[in-house]
Symmetry: C2
Protein backbone atom coordinates (compact mmCIF):
# COMPACT_ATOMS: atom_id res chain seq x y z
CA UNK A 1 0.00 0.00 0.00
CA UNK A 2 1.33 3.37 -0.97
CA UNK A 3 1.77 5.94 1.72
CA UNK A 4 -1.19 8.28 2.06
CA UNK A 5 -0.82 11.55 0.20
CA UNK A 6 -0.76 14.90 1.92
CA UNK A 7 -3.42 17.36 0.89
CA UNK A 8 -1.36 19.52 -1.51
CA UNK A 9 -0.11 16.45 -3.38
CA UNK A 10 -3.61 15.04 -3.70
CA UNK A 11 -4.96 18.27 -5.17
CA UNK A 12 -2.06 18.74 -7.57
CA UNK A 13 -2.72 15.29 -9.04
CA UNK A 14 -6.45 15.98 -9.12
CA UNK A 15 -5.91 19.28 -10.92
CA UNK A 16 -3.87 17.47 -13.57
CA UNK A 17 -6.29 14.57 -13.96
CA UNK A 18 -8.48 16.08 -16.64
CA UNK A 19 -5.84 17.81 -18.75
CA UNK A 20 -2.25 19.09 -18.64
CA UNK A 21 -1.68 22.39 -16.89
CA UNK A 22 1.24 24.60 -15.97
CA UNK A 23 2.17 25.35 -12.37
CA UNK A 24 0.21 28.51 -11.93
CA UNK A 25 -2.73 26.91 -13.71
CA UNK A 26 -2.68 24.13 -11.11
CA UNK A 27 -2.90 26.74 -8.38
CA UNK A 28 -5.99 28.23 -9.98
CA UNK A 29 -7.62 24.89 -10.75
CA UNK A 30 -7.20 23.66 -7.18
CA UNK A 31 -8.77 26.83 -5.88
CA UNK A 32 -11.64 26.41 -8.33
CA UNK A 33 -12.17 22.70 -7.61
CA UNK A 34 -12.33 23.33 -3.87
CA UNK A 35 -14.48 26.42 -4.05
CA UNK A 36 -11.59 28.48 -2.78
CA UNK A 37 -11.13 26.36 0.32
CA UNK A 38 -7.74 25.00 -0.65
CA UNK A 39 -5.11 27.43 -1.86
CA UNK A 40 -1.71 25.97 -2.60
CA UNK A 41 1.35 28.04 -1.89
CA UNK A 42 3.86 28.55 -4.67
CA UNK A 43 6.69 27.05 -2.64
CA UNK A 44 4.70 23.91 -1.98
CA UNK A 45 3.55 23.56 -5.55
CA UNK A 46 6.82 23.75 -7.43
CA UNK A 47 8.67 21.58 -4.93
CA UNK A 48 5.88 19.01 -5.18
CA UNK A 49 5.92 19.05 -9.00
CA UNK A 50 9.65 18.28 -8.93
CA UNK A 51 9.15 15.50 -6.42
CA UNK A 52 6.18 14.01 -8.30
CA UNK A 53 8.15 14.13 -11.53
CA UNK A 54 11.00 12.22 -9.85
CA UNK A 55 8.44 9.71 -8.57
CA UNK A 56 6.94 9.32 -12.03
CA UNK A 57 3.42 10.40 -11.08
CA UNK A 58 3.52 13.46 -13.32
CA UNK A 59 5.75 14.46 -16.21
CA UNK A 60 6.60 17.60 -18.13
CA UNK A 61 4.32 17.91 -21.14
CA UNK A 62 5.71 20.93 -22.99
CA UNK A 63 6.85 24.49 -22.45
CA UNK A 64 5.29 27.55 -23.92
CA UNK A 65 5.62 31.30 -23.65
CA UNK A 66 2.47 33.34 -23.20
CA UNK A 67 2.63 37.10 -22.95
CA UNK A 68 6.33 36.95 -22.38
CA UNK A 69 6.06 34.54 -19.45
CA UNK A 70 7.23 30.96 -19.77
CA UNK A 71 5.05 28.17 -18.61
CA UNK A 72 5.94 24.55 -18.07
CA UNK A 73 2.99 22.23 -18.53
CA UNK A 74 2.73 18.95 -16.64
CA UNK A 75 0.51 15.95 -17.21
CA UNK A 76 -0.51 13.01 -15.05
CA UNK A 77 1.27 9.78 -16.00
CA UNK A 78 -0.64 6.51 -15.98
CA UNK A 79 1.10 5.68 -12.70
CA UNK A 80 -0.12 9.03 -11.44
CA UNK A 81 -3.69 8.27 -12.47
CA UNK A 82 -3.51 4.87 -10.81
CA UNK A 83 -2.12 6.40 -7.62
CA UNK A 84 -4.82 9.06 -7.56
CA UNK A 85 -7.57 6.50 -8.13
CA UNK A 86 -6.23 4.41 -5.26
CA UNK A 87 -6.02 7.46 -3.03
CA UNK A 88 -9.57 8.55 -3.87
CA UNK A 89 -10.83 5.09 -2.99
CA UNK A 90 -8.88 5.09 0.26
CA UNK A 91 -10.42 8.45 1.17
CA UNK A 92 -13.90 7.26 0.31
CA UNK A 93 -13.61 4.18 2.52
CA UNK A 94 -11.98 6.12 5.34
CA UNK A 95 -14.78 8.68 5.34
CA UNK A 96 -17.38 5.93 5.34
CA UNK A 97 -15.76 4.10 8.24
CA UNK A 98 -15.48 7.27 10.32
CA UNK A 99 -19.13 8.06 9.72
CA UNK A 100 -20.16 4.56 10.75
CA UNK A 101 -18.12 4.72 13.93
CA UNK A 102 -19.49 8.13 14.83
CA UNK A 103 -23.01 6.84 14.29
CA UNK A 104 -22.26 3.83 16.46
CA UNK A 105 -21.11 6.14 19.23
CA UNK A 106 -24.09 8.45 19.17
CA UNK A 107 -27.08 7.77 21.40
CA UNK A 108 -28.25 4.45 20.13
CA UNK A 109 -31.72 5.06 18.84
CA UNK A 110 -32.21 1.48 17.93
CA UNK A 111 -30.31 -1.41 16.53
CA UNK A 112 -28.79 -0.04 13.39
CA UNK A 113 -27.46 -2.25 10.69
CA UNK A 114 -25.01 -5.01 11.19
CA UNK A 115 -21.79 -4.61 13.03
CA UNK A 116 -19.37 -2.23 11.50
CA UNK A 117 -17.51 -3.91 8.76
CA UNK A 118 -14.50 -2.31 7.31
CA UNK A 119 -12.13 -2.03 4.46
CA UNK A 120 -12.75 -4.88 2.11
CA UNK A 121 -9.57 -6.76 1.67
CA UNK A 122 -10.47 -8.05 -1.73
CA UNK A 123 -13.01 -7.15 -4.25
CA UNK A 124 -16.25 -6.56 -2.60
CA UNK A 125 -19.41 -4.83 -3.11
CA UNK A 126 -20.81 -3.13 -0.25
Amino acid sequence: MAKPMREPTFWILTALAAEPRHGYGVLQEVSRLTGGQVKLLAGTLYAALDRLTAEGLVEADHDEVVDGRSRRYYRLTSDGATALEAEAERLRLSARTARQQLAAGRPELGPALGRTAAFPKLGRLA
Copy 2:
Protein backbone atom coordinates in the same frame (compact mmCIF):
# COMPACT_ATOMS: atom_id res chain seq x y z
CA MET B 1 -10.88 25.46 8.15
CA ALA B 2 -8.90 23.12 10.32
CA LYS B 3 -5.74 21.66 8.90
CA PRO B 4 -6.22 18.25 7.36
CA MET B 5 -5.43 15.34 9.64
CA ARG B 6 -2.68 12.87 8.94
CA GLU B 7 -3.71 9.26 8.61
CA PRO B 8 -2.76 8.02 12.11
CA THR B 9 -4.61 10.90 13.76
CA PHE B 10 -7.71 10.25 11.68
CA TRP B 11 -7.79 6.57 12.62
CA ILE B 12 -7.15 7.19 16.30
CA LEU B 13 -10.18 9.48 16.45
CA THR B 14 -12.21 7.00 14.42
CA ALA B 15 -11.25 4.15 16.75
CA LEU B 16 -12.45 6.20 19.72
CA ALA B 17 -15.68 7.36 18.06
CA ALA B 18 -17.86 4.46 19.13
CA GLU B 19 -16.55 3.94 22.66
CA PRO B 20 -13.59 4.71 24.93
CA ARG B 21 -10.52 2.53 24.50
CA HIS B 22 -7.02 2.32 25.90
CA GLY B 23 -3.94 2.87 23.74
CA TYR B 24 -3.28 -0.71 22.82
CA GLY B 25 -6.99 -1.19 22.19
CA VAL B 26 -6.87 1.66 19.67
CA LEU B 27 -4.06 -0.13 17.87
CA GLN B 28 -6.18 -3.25 17.57
CA GLU B 29 -9.36 -1.41 16.60
CA VAL B 30 -7.63 0.50 13.83
CA SER B 31 -6.24 -2.71 12.45
CA ARG B 32 -9.73 -4.25 12.58
CA LEU B 33 -11.49 -1.27 11.03
CA THR B 34 -9.07 -1.19 8.13
CA GLY B 35 -8.95 -4.92 7.55
CA GLY B 36 -5.33 -4.95 8.65
CA GLN B 37 -4.32 -2.35 6.10
CA VAL B 38 -3.45 0.34 8.61
CA LYS B 39 -1.27 -0.57 11.56
CA LEU B 40 -0.31 2.23 13.88
CA LEU B 41 3.09 2.20 15.51
CA ALA B 42 3.27 2.50 19.27
CA GLY B 43 5.48 5.56 19.12
CA THR B 44 3.04 7.35 16.86
CA LEU B 45 0.03 6.36 18.92
CA TYR B 46 1.10 7.52 22.36
CA ALA B 47 2.59 10.75 21.08
CA ALA B 48 -0.62 11.43 19.17
CA LEU B 49 -2.82 10.70 22.20
CA ASP B 50 -0.83 13.24 24.22
CA ARG B 51 -1.10 15.81 21.46
CA LEU B 52 -4.81 15.21 20.91
CA THR B 53 -5.41 15.50 24.64
CA ALA B 54 -3.61 18.84 24.65
CA GLU B 55 -5.75 19.93 21.71
CA GLY B 56 -8.92 18.83 23.45
CA LEU B 57 -10.01 16.32 20.81
CA VAL B 58 -9.72 13.37 23.17
CA GLU B 59 -9.50 13.11 26.95
CA ALA B 60 -8.50 10.53 29.51
CA ASP B 61 -11.53 8.54 30.59
CA HIS B 62 -10.23 6.35 33.40
CA ASP B 63 -7.37 4.04 34.29
CA GLU B 64 -7.67 0.39 35.07
CA VAL B 65 -5.41 -2.54 35.70
CA VAL B 66 -6.07 -5.76 33.84
CA ASP B 67 -3.90 -8.80 34.41
CA GLY B 68 -1.31 -6.70 36.15
CA ARG B 69 -0.99 -4.23 33.29
CA SER B 70 -2.29 -0.70 33.59
CA ARG B 71 -4.38 0.74 30.87
CA ARG B 72 -5.33 4.35 30.31
CA TYR B 73 -8.63 4.75 28.52
CA TYR B 74 -9.38 7.72 26.30
CA ARG B 75 -12.62 9.03 24.89
CA LEU B 76 -13.48 11.39 22.07
CA THR B 77 -14.58 14.84 23.28
CA SER B 78 -17.42 16.61 21.54
CA ASP B 79 -14.83 18.81 19.84
CA GLY B 80 -13.14 15.61 18.73
CA ALA B 81 -16.37 14.26 17.29
CA THR B 82 -17.02 17.52 15.47
CA ALA B 83 -13.49 17.54 14.07
CA LEU B 84 -13.79 13.94 12.91
CA GLU B 85 -17.14 14.60 11.24
CA ALA B 86 -15.66 17.59 9.41
CA GLU B 87 -12.68 15.55 8.35
CA ALA B 88 -14.83 12.68 7.09
CA GLU B 89 -16.86 15.12 5.01
CA ARG B 90 -13.72 16.71 3.63
CA LEU B 91 -12.44 13.27 2.61
CA ARG B 92 -15.74 12.38 0.99
CA LEU B 93 -15.78 15.53 -1.12
CA SER B 94 -12.11 15.22 -2.01
CA ALA B 95 -12.59 11.65 -3.20
CA ARG B 96 -15.60 12.64 -5.26
CA THR B 97 -13.79 15.52 -6.93
CA ALA B 98 -10.78 13.37 -7.79
CA ARG B 99 -13.03 10.73 -9.32
CA GLN B 100 -14.85 13.33 -11.42
CA GLN B 101 -11.59 14.79 -12.67
CA LEU B 102 -10.20 11.39 -13.53
CA ALA B 103 -13.38 10.58 -15.43
CA ALA B 104 -13.16 13.88 -17.29
CA GLY B 105 -9.63 13.02 -18.33
CA ARG B 106 -10.34 9.55 -19.61
CA PRO B 107 -11.17 9.03 -23.26
CA GLU B 108 -14.67 10.31 -23.51
CA LEU B 109 -16.84 7.37 -24.40
CA GLY B 110 -19.96 9.39 -24.63
CA PRO B 111 -22.00 11.58 -22.32
CA ALA B 112 -21.49 10.34 -18.81
CA LEU B 113 -24.34 8.95 -16.80
CA GLY B 114 -23.74 10.73 -13.61
CA ARG B 115 -22.16 14.01 -14.27
CA THR B 116 -18.75 15.05 -15.19
CA ALA B 117 -17.40 18.39 -14.24
CA ALA B 118 -20.10 20.84 -15.04
CA PHE B 119 -17.43 23.47 -15.28
CA PRO B 120 -16.28 25.30 -18.38
CA LYS B 121 -13.56 23.32 -19.92
CA LEU B 122 -11.71 25.22 -22.55
CA GLY B 123 -11.14 28.83 -22.95
CA ARG B 124 -8.22 30.01 -21.00
CA LEU B 125 -5.63 30.93 -23.51
CA ALA B 126 -4.34 28.27 -25.80
